[in-house]
Structures are given as structure tokens and as C-alpha cells.
Subunit: 147 residues, 2 copies
DNA sequence: ATTGCACATTAGAATCATTCCAAATTTAGA
DNA sequence: TCTAAATTTGGAATGATTCTAATGTGCAAT
């Protein structure tokens, strides 16, 4: 676990450089860094209240937007559900398990670049890319038999 | 242009086989087949009213859902905007041009299969996959000079 | 062709995530 | 420290979608 005191310090965290720091943004950012999952704004709100009981939901939305605009976290959307927020900044997709509701990061295979796979329109400059998958995790019978 | 009269006829359109056909579902389906673009439910509603002025918005939502469930059209989502509906059933992504608001189908390059590119979680069975791109079309200076 | 009934349609109300508002507060640089 | 500009806040507003419950209809079986 990292030192939370420095998570939001510009001197230690270059991702936040240039972003005006408030107590609220720091609290929201720490919530996202603490569990590395994909909470909704409402879930971030609930968690943030532990360290800052007076924070408002509107502020959580504002902070999340600021962090997303700044590129410090990513926003991910599943169909029309509430937006979720993801601290993983590497290029990856998201698998949404219909059974458990869990969201799992799906890395690209080594060496793959998305733009290599798609017939992009001429002159297209990509600002944002989302790959989302929905499905079920099938419990496969083990291929190895008992001894 | 195809014969609209047969668009919704089970005998001529196997995509609809097994789906109970109503005047409203037919109107909605024809709207989607006529322009091959990506209208929202509201836009489908506006267009459908031309051929059926009494159709209701709730019904348009119902029909679109039925068509999507049946696999006759696809639903596509951009961030948290209104859902859009797409008659293209081939595997492809969507590019959303920030300037014009246009949506452009983005085919996969020949021979590419998405599952080849992603490190899927073990046992994952994919029911739905969305690839969405947002960006700008840059007008590139022509490489050829005037004669 | 008629019928029965499970499924569809409809208008309007309800929901719910998100955004807007305008006043009070806070940040960060001079 | 002081100040301007940005941020926070609670509550109201928005807007896409879903729900409700009453009415209507496709179509399989007769």
C-alpha cells in the first residue's frame, strides 16, 4: 500500500501536475487509488464520505470530471448504466460479468495496437477509445482428472 | 432500394423470423433499414411518425428493444448519450466525430477477430462487444499538388 | 374464417443519473 | 497577506428511459 499522504502531492504524483488540488479532489482521487476497482459516482461518494463526511455528491461529480479531463483516471460506460471510474491508465478494455456484476480489466495482447486492427476513416484522430464486453464467466470442468 | 413491402415479411426476411410482427415494429424496422445511419430512439420516433402518425414514443422504445433482443438491429452507446440503433449486423466498431456529430461504422481489418486481440478472463463467454471511438476528422492537406 | 389469449400498444406518470444554479468558500499566485 | 478566479454545495432542474394499467391485436389452433 502506498503512502496516502503523498497520493495527491504534485511533488510526488506527476499525474496530477497542473490540476488545482482541493481537499475534495484529493479525497476522491484517494478513493479511486485505494481499491483498484470500477466504482460509480455514487459509490465513490459513499466511500469518500468516510474520510470527508461533508463532501457533496455534486462535488464528487465535479471532481471526477476534473480528474478525467486531466487524464488522471478514466471514465468507462456500460450500455446505459451509471458511468464508472477506472484508475488503470494503460490501454485496455472492460469485461462486465452479467452474473456477479464484476468488471474485469481486459489487457490487449502483447504488441497489439488497436489502430492496427480497424479500418479507420481517413484523417481520423482518436481522442478516446472504449472496448467493452458483456458476458458470463463459464465454470469450465477441469480438464485434468483426479489422480 | 429494396421493396419496403417485404422488409417485414417473415417469408422474405429471415432476420425477423420468430418475432411477432406488428405494424409498429414494422414501421420502426423500416425506419432503420431506410437510412443506414445511427438514429436515437427520439429520431426513430420522429421518422416513424411519417408513416404512422399515431405511434407513441414508448412503443418505439418497446419495438427497438424487441428488435435488439431478437438480433435484428444493434444498440450502440456513446458515453452517456442517448442510445443509438444500427442496422449493420457485421462485427464493427463506431467512430463518433466530435465536430459533426456523425457516426461512422469502423470495420475490422480483414481476417481480424476481436477475441484474438484481448487477454480475456478464463472462461469468459462474450454476449456483447462494443468498440467505440471518439475523435476528430482532420482535413489533411492533399499530398498531390495541383497540376 | 373465427376465436382466444398471450403479448403489444399507449399516454402519462415515475425514475434516476447527471447537470445546472447561485451563493458561500477556498485555492494558489502576486 | 490579499485577490481574482476557480471550486464547493444543496437543492432544483433536466432528460432519457422505464413503468403502469387500461385497451387493442397478431396469430396459432380450431
Amino acid at each position: 500500500m502506498e503512502n496516502k499522504l503523498t497520493d495527491c502531492d504534485h511533488r510526488h504524483n506527476p499525474k496530477l501536475k497542473g490540476l488545482r488540488m482541493t481537499r475534495q479532489r484529493c479525497a476522491v482521487y484517494q478513493v479511486l487509488m485505494a481499491h483498484r476497482d470500477h466504482p460509480t459516482a455514487g459509490e465513490v461518494y459513499d466511500r469518500a464520505k468516510h474520510s470527508m463526511p461533508t463532501i457533496s455528491l455534486a462535488t464528487v461529480y465535479n471532481c471526477l470530471e476534473a480528474l478525467v479531463q486531466h487524464g488522471a483516471v478514466r471514465q468507462v460506460n456500460f450500455e446505459r448504466e451509471s458511468s464508472r471510474y477506472c484508475p488503470n491508465l494503460t490501454e485496455h478494455g472492460h469485461f462486465h460479468d452479467e452474473k456477479s456484476g464484476t468488471i474485469i480489466d481486459v489487457p490487449l495482447k502483447k504488441g497489439i495496437h488497436l489502430s492496427d486492427l480497424l479500418e479507420l476513416p481517413a484523417g481520423a484522430q482518436i481522442d478516446n477509445l472504449e472496448i467493452t464486453l458483456r458476458g458470463k464467466i463459464i465454470h469450465q470442468p477441469s480438464l485434468t482428472t483426479h489422480p
